[in-house]
Amino acid sequence: MTEATSASSVTISTSGDAALRVSGVLPDREATWRLMHHLARALDASRVPGVACVIPTYDAVLIEVDPHEVAVDRLREFVGVLAESIDADHPLTELPRVFEVPVLYDLDGELDLRSVASAQGLQIEDIVRLHGEPEYVIRCLGAPGGSPMLDGPAFPQPVQRLSSPRAHVPAGMVSVAGRQATITPAPAPGGWPLIGRTPLTVLDLGSEPFVPYEPGDIIRFRQIDIDEYQALLGTRMVAR
């Protein structure tokens, strides 16, 4: 059985000889999410020898180590102490940046907007409206290449993933799945239903990070038509 260390705010499990999984166990989902990202930042700032990469998501942090440099069981205690020292009520970002993302929705039925709408028992206009309403908080960065992972729009039901994933999803696709939403910065295979596309260029391989936003920043979607799409094509995504 995998040993787990429990503190009041986190459970820490070994995930092989080169990683620890820290799971947040605070009763409040938002506080758990903040705790995970504060913990990741604190670990980065403390520059622990042997820690190769820290990956915070919604309610967990994966800490990858170089097992030649540090044993995960040694690290576990330090991480537990660090987690206890964090104020999970502290905002993740004092002044979140807002990114406005223009979207050419799939009104012509070329992508999956129609099937998403019919599965929800809604018109495609309702899906477009619901998707465009929220101020989305970027929860974490995901595959491929820094996708902004967002809590999904207020659809009546979770969105079913495609039964057969696409082998190639181009960059700039706007998609939803389950209770989540995202934009794909890089072309990749994918099983999320696509409801539109943005003309913005999200990924810049010449900079680090590759993407202009970080967890805690805000995304808003704005409907555009084909003319505006063409005019904006290739524009770099920047904060408003």
Partner: protein, 333 residues
């Protein structure tokens, strides 16, 4: 500043890589890099390079090269034949190759991947500090026949003037002979209930759909997820053993998507990930459960072996640079 070029005569399935993009996963970018990290480290160490220096990963197929300067190379990983100017030269040893002399890696067997390091390494583009190809981002990739790679250094031949033989033979840490794959319990093993033990009951056969992202296997009886409910996407480690819907077991390797929502049944140890990188489709592996402490001991033992090899190689290179050795061999430039 470059010191010549290595040209691909026959490319096979070869790419320039290193030990991986360790800064990538926090941005959702897989770590990638040499799938057999141990063999890549050995090849680099044998020619006096840093463990993480760019080198060539040669998968399954023959490859042939020619450099326009004198170089020192070493090949490690799967067994095979190293031919220099048509003559067989030792595997797992530093070998001098003269300018214009074609050399080839052929007949890979008892494994899938060989690593060819050149003393001084290659001058190649980096992304987040690594040259490792990323198939999703479209960075790097296979080299093609005719393509030339920039070398960072040339190395005058290290040949015994009297016998034409190598000046030294190094003893290598023994490579694993069988495909036993050690795993530690994963953080979600409880989700599989008693079916988790099926992982250890019988061998699994690697299927041809396996690649750098994941090794897929079939077996007589797969563990089954007993717990249900949606899991939020979270970071998954390289080596995670998952049971996706279908009939295959999946072991994530270094090209894995960084986040996923599947429960992690077990995690292949760092040393056994190297073993897994050498298994060919159709071959069988047997999983063995080890404790976290056993896994940590294995990785420390491997590191000690690599350090000892580095120390011997450094002694040899230091000795070769002493003036009194120039009567039997030639000094390093």
């Amino acid at each position: 500043m470059t010191s010549g070029q290595l040209r691909m005569v026959e490319a096979g399935s070869t790419q320039v890589t290193d030990l991986g993009r360790s800064r990538g996963p926090r941005y959702g970018v897989p770590v990638n890099g040499a799938l057999d990290q141990r063999s890549a480290s050995i090849a680099n160490t044998l020619v006096g390079n840093a463990r993480n220096a760019p080198l060539l990963e040669i998968t399954a197929l023959d490859a042939e090269f020619v450099a326009d300067v004198d170089i020192l190379v070493a090949v490690s990983g799967a067994d095979g034949t190293l031919l220099v100017g048509g003559s067989a030269r030792p595997w797992n040893q530093p070998v001098s190759v003269r300018a214009g002399e074609p050399f080839a890696v052929r007949n890979l067997q008892r494994g899938l991947r060989a690593y060819l390091a050149v003393r001084g390494s290659f001058d190649v583009p980096l992304l987040l500090g690594s040259c490792a190809p990323d198939s999703v981002l479209g960075f790097g990739g296979r080299v093609s026949a005719g393509e030339a790679l920039s070398l960072r250094a040339s190395t005058a031949p290290l040949i015994n003037a009297h016998f034409g033989a190598e000046l030294y033979r190094l003893t290598l840490p023994a490579a694993p002979q069988s495909f036993v794959v050690d795993v530690t319990d994963g953080p979600d093993i409880d989700d599989f209930g008693a079916t988790a033990d099926r992982l250890f009951a019988a061998p699994y056969t690697v299927t041809p759909t396996s690649n750098h992202i994941g090794v897929r296997m079939t077996g007589s009886s797969l563990p089954e997820r007993r717990a249900h409910g949606e899991v939020l996407s979270r970071g998954v480690p390289v080596g995670a053993v998952e049971v996706p819907p279908g009939t295959e077991l999946l072991v994530l390797h270094r090209g894995r998507g960084v986040t996923a929502g599947y429960p992690v049944l077990a995690v292949v140890t760092t040393t056994s990930l190297d073993t897994l990188a050498q298994v060919r489709p159709g071959q069988q592996v047997r999983f063995r459960r080890v404790s976290d402490a056993q896994a940590a001991t294995a990785i420390r033992a491997q590191r000690a072996e690599l350090d000892a090899l580095r120390s011997r190689v450094e002694s040899i290179f230091a000795a070769l640079q002493q003036p009194h050795n120039t009567t039997n061999g030639r000094i390093l430039s």
